[in-house]
Symmetry: C2
Subunit: 888 residues, 2 copies
């Protein structure tokens, strides 16, 4: 087996073997671009090392052969002679992965070669600084020494020298530091810093291999579901130096603006510096265009290379380069990250340029990006200066009065005020406050913190982990890095897309993309809208999946239609039992005997009929799937504990009577209780009242010249017998309405598949169902055995942090568990009934990755909230375009 | 296709085609026994009729041919001539089925043939009574006329004649009744009673076919899971008459005593009567032995036939026969029902006689019968006279003071009194009272009524539907048929095995079978115990499944061992957190910071260690599977509502603090919340404390010379990552204990499979598990999406009544749903890890039908409550004996 590839041997399609970095270095070499020579040790070698704890037998010789070749080509020897060759050792897995060892520069420097480097570079300080950096970086990452030990000595050296920055330390100071660093190495490892250049290199390679199984890397892989057995490659590359004087420098460049997508020259340049310095931000970079003035030849060469790369990769590339004494070297390239708006613009530009075809254009944008473009944003954000920046945890833009505890949030919100809940971190006790607030800001915690997870679940704007902001809950104030104090009631604005936090109110404007979907902006309103319009049109043409809306009212249905919804996939009738009608529902529940119960149902009938008539009118000509009442009855009554306390204190007679009913209906686990079809089978007349309302509404619409297309859906079916009984009753009612009105109503009757048992016996159930709609919310709850309400706040945070979940299974369908049931039910259902219509109406219907799953298992449609319809349309189109993934 | 079989053509193995009745009539004919000639129309004909609504084309001619043959053999014509042939038409499906039309006798009688019959029999009254019976029976069952219309006329005739019974009605009165009956037929159907004998027969056959889809028959099939497409056969048989004088008669006989199983002559005889009269109970039967005196020849012939039948069927047979003027005719035989004790005795007797082999003997008894033998019974029942009899709904024997409402039951039980809850019927509001009572008695409802279902779920004695008892809840009294009044506080005794109800206390004695299992009675204590011992020994030799116990204490473990348990399959540690230790648990839950939490855990550690040490001692040498803490923490705290009310009224400071914790831990659906492995991952130190206690207890036992074999089981795992983390922690703790104590502990670590997701991803989970134990209680809850506590009381009754369930899925495993997941998990788990140990510890582990299922899917063991161990052993042995079913 071949374990080492010269840069001249590989290419960009060998990412599995050479990692992303190595494959792209090889590709650039192959294109004849100026890449410093080097070679890549393959992931095969890493896997062999991880398995056995040792490098493969042949690796050492193979590396020697490649190193020899490199030395011959460069005319220099690694760490030896008058002009010693130095190399960098860089990790590079197939997927970029935080937590793995990254890079060791300057390998080859020793007590001996440091002098040669100084002489060769004509710069004593540069050579000792390079050696200091090597020992520090090698000590920390290869030898595992606490980095703070080195930092402390540098601090001390600066103090002693009376200077502010490392750059001001003299060569002598640096030489002394090297001596101290070497003592640290001896103290920590029991032996001296390796003086054999080849040993330095071998140890660094081995450390990269071992870092694959570092704790953070493993956690990251668990979260991102990256297989554990890929391993990482290691690239060994001849060093070039951007810090050899004013004719040297280093920079990053993009072939297009990654923020807007517009074409042009974008990037930053720092003269007389190494890449490390750019990252450290000690000196300010200049815009890349400045390079033209500093070094016109290198600039022209860079522009030429950027064009070569973009035409070769057919996409925005980002590039790292170094100029060593007037000679341009390419250190890295990859397809560059970009903002959502840029992604849409670039895809359409490349399509217009004829560089990519339409399906490829669809692959270049994601539903996640489209969703970002649909959030409102701050209109004048550029005019404001953020007081801090945190993690963009849940998108949107929100302004409101700062409050520092849940109770205050609830109280002020109840008084009509818009509030932002500010906490160091949140916990389950903050839930009420989070619900009441416009947005949530925390100073601690990452993307998987409680605040972030819960806010995303609620669709609420959240910035978390804004560590430069000091939150003092007791004193009810927030202090910024520059000492500005925001007290309770002061207005804050937070941007959930960028993570920025502003003092005062920043006006919010709606998204132009939403205005386009709403029909209030033309498809060519601006170039972003035009790009979105173009790609949505392509997606609609490609997709096999229909897209319907979860909509309970005529207003929602009308919006869904504007957003491209092709019907209602889920109308939840329970919402029609709330508000003014609560009293009727209470009468139904408290009914003493059949007559009272029927009177309550009779009173509800015309109200329900009215609801459905409006809904069918809004969706005229398109299917409307109405789910019969799902939740348990006690949801329509007061809370048991609250009412018990009230009765104990006030002894009100009506309350006491109510309490008896609440107690009777009380369930330990209402999610697993008397609800859905069970309720329909136990409460006589309830479902038939609803069926009658639907049928009469359809007949009324028909009489008015409309084209109503209702479909009736039975919730929570576990066994076909339940469905058979309800179906018989419903058919009798529909036949009765047809007889009375003379209308020929053809109303399909189907069922939710939202219990494991329904999925497991789908073949039987299909015998009595015209359609299935997968209720993946409930299915996720029962397959995992946890209720969303109870657990998102309690242990999901810990689970995400421990990497047990990569993403909440309520956000993206759990393909291994829940998904396998869906797949089996689709197969069994279609086998039993080839014309069975299949859809999904859980919230997963609007989630990009889940949409791909539903496409793949062959559903007919997804149904989601009206606002998610464009995302679902786009992803459904992308799913039909082979090779599109949901991550950019 | 052949649709009609002469009795001479069929045999007992053709039950699918000829039904049970037809097949056995053919078998007796084949054996040369005196069966009246006849033929059977097949289930194929019935299925064709049900499918098309018409008899198959060829059926009429085929019936004609067989009828001709019958007439030729008898030398008589159906309903014609001087000596008209009469026939009976009887339904007979593969399984006996209430709700189907049963029998029409005397077909062939018309206005004309009634006279010939009178002349031939020499008995005018007999002829007119037979005709009256035909019109009445035919009118009701074939023509669907309300039977009350006929009864009313008979009542009136009796009144007019001034007689008490039908038998006293004269021939003239009966002739007049026939005229009136014929008028009823005309009024109800618009045409006269058919005078064509063949038409009578054809209509009766068609009515039998149609009765297959009668409402009650369909309900019964749904409940008993009998396929809907079997259809019924119809037997047409020449009539013989037992009511032609003192030398005629009718009777039933058993080849052994169905009550005790003892050999001898058992049965009843009624001279000068038809079968109908025996059922109606108008005259008292005499013991069968009396027949010897009345008709020695027939008696001898009957004994000979009984011996033939028993030697042929190799089992207890029950027989219906008629003697017509000194000639014995066999009308029916089948393998007879018997009591549990009889089943055991008979199986061993037949085995001893060499009639059946050992595996067949095992097939002849069931775990359900064994369970009946293990309930305590009334010692002197025979000395008491029941005041009423109801349905034996839930076995056992109970005595106590009669109470008529739940609150009184709770109050009296709390005061230490034993009570029997008496209600017309129960509903969910009676739950507390049912829990408090020794037994439940209702006057309404059947085996699927609320009282029956809930009592069986609780394992509580219950007699329901004792309709002769009048329950007046308002007046707090029960009135028997003879007017005896039982008031509140008066002692009642109920026998859940027989359904009998007694006034006063009947002493209860333990079962001798239980004494045998306990070791306090010798294996030959009595002939029943000897039979049980013999068959248990056979079962243990045959079975592949191991049988363990669900036992939480050393006492339970010791009993389990006596009952034949081969280890503990489930030790629930939550019980160890109750009682005196509640306070420590409260400290753990209310802990403010790590130190307090650790202090609470440290205090619990030695207590847990002590528990385990005792348990391992009791099960020395056998495996003990300990499940780490499963329930949510709030189960160890007071109820939220109760505490809220108390705090609102009393403002106690400690309570207020407690309320905060209860609120924090409160979950809407605790079953779907923070429990099991989730709790272990979120509460630091909890699981490791338990693991340490187990390991230290094992080390202590090892040091004391014992052989502890603990296994640690992680509850509620949904994904392998959870298991991996807990496993890593547990292994570290065990290694630490090994290091400290020097004991080499080899403790397998496994998981419950009790969530659908665990079953669906069993292949992954097996990678980190040494064993699986299927938790089929929770699996049933999540697969069906209902919680046992909530739904058994609310909708299970309705579901059983509507036939949605045949049996509660918590009693017998739902093979189609839950079972399919178990099967898939077994396959995937073993594929991933061939040495994976597989067991089940849900309550299904002791249910006969479920044990067969677990045997069939290939588990290694079942675990059940100690008391169910003998049942599981027996059924495991029977399951290994091909062809054994769980119903007798």
């Amino acid at each position: 087996m071949k374990f080492v590839y010269d840069f001249t041997e590989g290419n960009k399609d060998l990412k599995d073997l050479l990692g992303g970095k190595g494959a792209n270095l090889a590709e650039m070499t192959r294109l004849g671009l100026p890449v410093p020579p080097g070679f890549t040790i393959t992931t095969d070698a890493c896997r062999a090392f991880l398995l056995t704890g040792d490098e493969p037998d042949t690796l050492h010789d193979e590396v020697s052969a490649h190193l020899d070749a490199l030395e011959r080509r460069m005319g220099r020897r690694l760490g030896q002679g008058d002009d010693p060759l130095l190399v960098s050792v860089r990790s590079g897995a197939k997927f970029s992965m935080p937590g793995m060892m990254d890079t060791v520069l300057n390998i080859g420097l020793t007590d001996e070669s440091v002098g040669a480097l100084a002489a060769q570079a004509g710069d004593e300080r540069f050579a000792w600084d390079s050696y200091r950096r090597l020992i520090q970086m090698f000590g920390r990452t290869v030898l595992g020494i606490d980095g703070g030990l080195f930092e402390d000595r540098i601090d001390e050296a600066r103090r002693t020298a009376g200077v502010a920055t490392d750059v001001e330390l003299t060569a002598d100071r640096l030489r002394a530091l090297v001596a101290e660093f070497k003592e640290i190495v001896v103290a920590a490892t029991g032996r001296g810093f390796p003086q054999d250049p080849r040993e330095q290199m071998d140890l660094a390679v081995r450390a990269v291999f071992a870092s694959w199984n570092g704790e953070r890397a493993r956690l990251y892989r668990r979260q991102e579901r990256i297989p554990n057995d890929l391993g990482t490659a290691v690239s060994v590359c001849a060093m070039v130096f951007g810090n050899l004087g004013p004719d040297s420098g280093t920079g990053v460049a993009f072939t297009r603006d990654p923020a807007s997508g517009h074409q042009g020259v974008y990037g930053d340049y720092l003269a007389n510096a190494q890449g490390e310095d750019v990252v450290a931000g000690i000196r300010n970079t200049v815009p890349l265009a400045e390079l033209e003035r500093l070094d016109a030849a290198s600039y022209a060469e860079l522009l030429r290379i950027m064009e070569v790369l973009e035409n070769h990769y057919l996409d925005l590339c980002d590039i790292e380069f170094t100029i060593e004494r007037g000679k341009l070297w390419m250190l890295q390239t990859r397809v560059g990250k970009r903002t959502a708006a840029a992604a849409f613009r670039i895809a359409v530009q490349l399509l217009d340029q004829g560089l990519i075809d339409e399906r490829e254009a669809l692959r270049r944008v994601t539903g996640g990006q489209l969703a970002q473009l649909m959030f409102p944003r701050f209109s004048t954000e550029s005019e404001h200066t953020p007081i801090g920046t945190g993690i963009a945890a849940s998108p949107g833009a929100a302004s409101g009065a700062a409050v520092f505890d849940s109770a205050t949030a609830v109280a002020r919100a109840a008084a009509g005020e818009r509030v932002i809940l500010v906490r160091r971190e949140t916990n389950p006790d903050d839930l009420d406050g989070m619900i009441a607030a416009q947005g949530i800001l925390t100073s601690r915690g990452g993307k998987t913190s409680h605040a972030a997870v819960v806010a995303r679940g609620m669709g609420k704007t959240c910035v978390c982990g804004a560590e430069e902001l000091q939150v003092d809950v007791a004193a009810r104030r927030l202090t910024t890095a520059d000492g500005t104090v925001i007290g309770e009631g002061d207005v804050l604005s937070i941007d959930g897309a960028s993570g920025r936090v502003y003092a005062g109110e920043v006006p919010v404007v709606p998204s132009s993309v939403v205005e386009y979907f709403e029909g209030t902006a033309a498809p060519d309103a601006d170039d972003l809208v035009a790009a979105v319009h173009r790609l949505m049109t392509l997606a609609d043409r490609e997709r096999h999946l229909g897209v319907r809306a979860n909509a309970d009212t005529a207003e929602d249905a009308a919006r869904a239609r504007r957003f491209g919804g092709e019907g209602v996939g889920l109308c939840r009738t329970e919402h029609m039992f709330l508000g003014d009608r609560r009293e009727l529902v209470e009468r139904l529940i408290l009914a003493d005997g059949e007559a009272e119960r029927e009177a309550a149902l009779d009173a509800l009938l015309p109200l329900q009929r009215g609801d459905f008539t409006e809904l069918f009118e809004a969706m005229d000509g398109l299917p409307v799937t109405v789910r019969l009442l799902d939740p348990p009855l006690h949801e329509f009554l007061p809370d048991l504990t609250d009412l018990s306390v009230r009765v104990a204190l006030e002894h009100d007679e009506r309350d006491t009577r109510l309490l008896t009913a609440v107690r009777r209906l009380h369930e330990q686990n209402p999610m697993l209780g008397l609800r859905g079809v069970r309720l329909g089978l136990v409460v006589p007349g309830l479902f038939t009242m609803q069926v009658r309302a639907i049928a009469e509404a359809a007949a009324a619409r028909r009489a008015a010249g409309g084209n109503p297309r209702p479909e009736i859906m039975i919730p929570l079916v576990g066994t076909v017998q339940e469905l058979e009984i309800v179906r018989d009753e419903a058919e009798a009612v529909i036949a009765d309405v047809e007889r009375v009105t003379g209308a020929a109503l053809s109303i399909p009757l189907g069922t939710m598949i939202e219990l494991p048992r329904a999925a497991l016996t789908a073949g039987q159930i299909a015998g009595s169902a015209d359609f299935f709609s997968f209720g993946t919310n409930d299915l996720t709850q029962t397959v995992w055995g946890f209720s969303r309400d109870d657990v998102e706040a309690s242990f999901f945070t810990a689970y995400l942090e421990k990497g047990i979940f990569g993403v909440s299974p309520f956000e993206t369908i759990d393909a291994d568990g829940v998904g396998s049931l869906v797949r089996a039910a689709v197969t069994a259902g279609r086998a039993a009934r080839p014309d069975l219509k299949l859809g999904v109406c859980g919230e997963h219907g609007g989630d990009p990755e889940s949409v791909h799953f539903f496409h793949e298992v062959g559903l007919d449609y997804v149904s989601c909230s009206p606002f998610r319809i464009p995302v679902a349309r786009l992803e459904a189109g992308r799913a039909a375009t082979a090779g599109a993934t949901t991550t950019p």
